[in-house]
């Protein structure tokens, strides 16, 4: 479980996060949602430790991140997997080498064991074997996301972060990636945090949703509750599209 308590973060006097508190539960897909510029990316980067917060606590199962030295942060990060918006695969390596990279860096397993683990992860995300030796630039965006997920789970992380996992993907592939993240979260009992503004994803896999508005935590709940909330900012965000307005009507 990751617990964020009274977090403040400013950049050059611009107060981006204002006293944000939230709980991200283990074995659930926790989603941070909000409009562009609301502070959700800053919140996620602060939780990972890419931004140093001004005030507050970020507890990874009781371990407070802001109190840690760089060495301790590095150790903690070995328990973290991350799926980046653009996949962030190493373009000088093949698909298989990308997934093997964290294993080579941090595990003492033999080469055969590492290859076996990497192949297992790639098969787990349903990637065809013929693409294992291709370069990332030779596979599609959806496949790149799968490889990035495989790399993120290679070291069996306790925490998985996904930054806009559906960015640049068609609706069908987005759904597949969402389901994959959801399955992995439950199968390996991971604390997953997804940063998204894709309402389809939220409605598909949002088990614990945190809505950020103007740097403040404005609402926390699940996808079932979202239709019955009396929060103007949240309703404005969720039901911006005609489709979701219709869905809301149907639900009422």
């Amino acid at each position: 479980m990751i617990e964020v308590k009274n977090v403040d973060k400013s950049f050059d006097g611009n107060h981006v996060l204002k006293n944000v508190s939230a709980i991200f539960e283990t074995g659930k897909t926790n989603m941070i949602i909000g409009q562009s510029g609301s502070g959700k990316t800053v919140l996620m980067k602060s939780i990972i430790g890419l931004h140093r917060i001004d005030k507050g606590r970020i507890e990874y199962d009781g371990r407070n991140l802001p109190d840690m030295q760089m060495k301790e942060i590095r150790v903690l990060r070995r328990e973290v997997g991350m799926l980046f918006q653009g996949s962030a695969l190493f373009d000088s390596a093949t698909v298989l080498e990308n997934v093997m990279y964290p294993l080579e860096m941090f595990s003492d397993a033999s080469k055969e064991e590492m290859v076996e683990r990497a192949r297992f992860c790639l098969k787990h995300v349903s990637l065809a074997e013929k693409s294992f030796n291709l370069a990332p630039s030779e596979i599609s965006g959806g496949m790149q996301k799968r490889v990035a997920i495989a790399r993120a789970i290679a070291l069996q992380p306790k925490y998985l972060f996904c930054d806009e996992p559906n960015s640049g993907l068609d609706p069908k592939t987005s759904l597949i990636i969402d389901q994959l993240i959801h399955e992995i979260t439950h199968e390996f009992d991971i604390t997953t945090i997804i940063n998204s503004h894709d309402m389809n994803s939220v409605m598909e896999i949002g088990e614990n949703i945190i809505f950020i508005d103007k740097g403040k935590m404005a609402w926390q709940g699940n996808k079932g509750d979202i239709f019955h909330v009396d929060n103007e900012a949240l309703n404005g965000f969720v039901f911006a599209s005609e489709l979701f307005k219709q869905v809301k009507k149907a639900n009422q």
Partner: protein
């Protein structure tokens, strides 16, 4: 202010780079690739430039020293000392600041803007050390070989142009390149070029590592790496010459 802030950031980056790698196995996997990319792949440009500079230096020196009072070996001597003292170290490094510097800055800069460096950091890897250290060590170690290669080809180029254009005899040239030879000049040149190799690779890595934005910004980082690397080479050339030759 910007100079102070850049210097501070550069020093802090080097503090992260110049430490023992997390995994030596990964370092030694990357190291030969960098030797090949930064060193061996620079051989063709070094060869072409050195031979042609040897040609032109011999021709120009001969043309401008056609005084009966000057000894016949002057051309060979001037060609050799110019190559040894300045061309094969300083000028060659200025050229390599363009080739190698832009290569390093654009490679690391692209990794930065495509979040590959963030991915390394999130994994708990010291990305600065992992990406930059093999480049610096490989280039610093390859540089003396490039310099010696350049010296040999430059002197050889001078010999061929002298003989082919018949502007001087083989004997005069050979006497010139051996006359009053000071081996310390070679040592000075090698030390100097290794310092320049460090400057080129570390400054380029600094600009690449702190790139932000998009492709246009990576281009700007590359340009900054080449321009500032070249200025630093010229500045340190004066400093090291004063220290080692005076």
């Amino acid at each position: 202010m910007s100079l102070l802030s850049d210097t501070g950031k550069y020093v802090l980056l080097m503090k992260r780079v110049l430490v023992a790698p997390d995994r030596w196995k990964m370092f030694f996997r990357q190291f030969p690739k960098e030797l090949e990319k930064l060193g061996l792949q620079s051989l063709p440009i070094v060869a072409i430039i050195s031979v042609f500079i040897g040609f032109i230096m011999t021709m120009q020196t001969k043309l401008n020293t056609s005084n009966p009072l000057l000894p016949v070996y002057t051309t060979g001597l001037v060609t050799r000392d110019t190559l040894l003292l300045e061309f094969s170290s300083t000028i060659l490094c200025l050229i390599l600041a363009g080739k190698v510097g832009s290569n390093i800055a654009s490679e690391i800069g692209t990794m930065r803007i495509t979040e590959q460096i963030d991915a390394l950091e999130i994994m708990g890897v010291n990305s600065a050390n992992y990406l930059i250290l093999p480049k610096i060590i490989a280039f610093v170690l390859m540089m003396p070989f490039l310099v010696i290669f350049s010296m040999a080809l430059g002197v050889g180029g001078g010999y061929f142009v002298g003989v082919l254009t018949d502007i001087m005899t083989t004997g005069d040239y050979l006497i010139g390149i051996q006359y009053a030879f000071i081996p310390y000049y070679v040592f000075y040149s090698l030390i100097k070029s290794m310092l320049f190799a460090f400057i080129i690779s570390s400054v380029a890595a600094y600009y690449g590592y702190y790139s932000y934005g998009g492709a246009l910004d990576v281009g700007k980082s590359s340009t900054n790496a080449v321009v500032n690397g070249s200025i630093l080479i010229l500045f340190f050339n004066i400093l090291i010459t004063k220290l080692m030759l005076n």
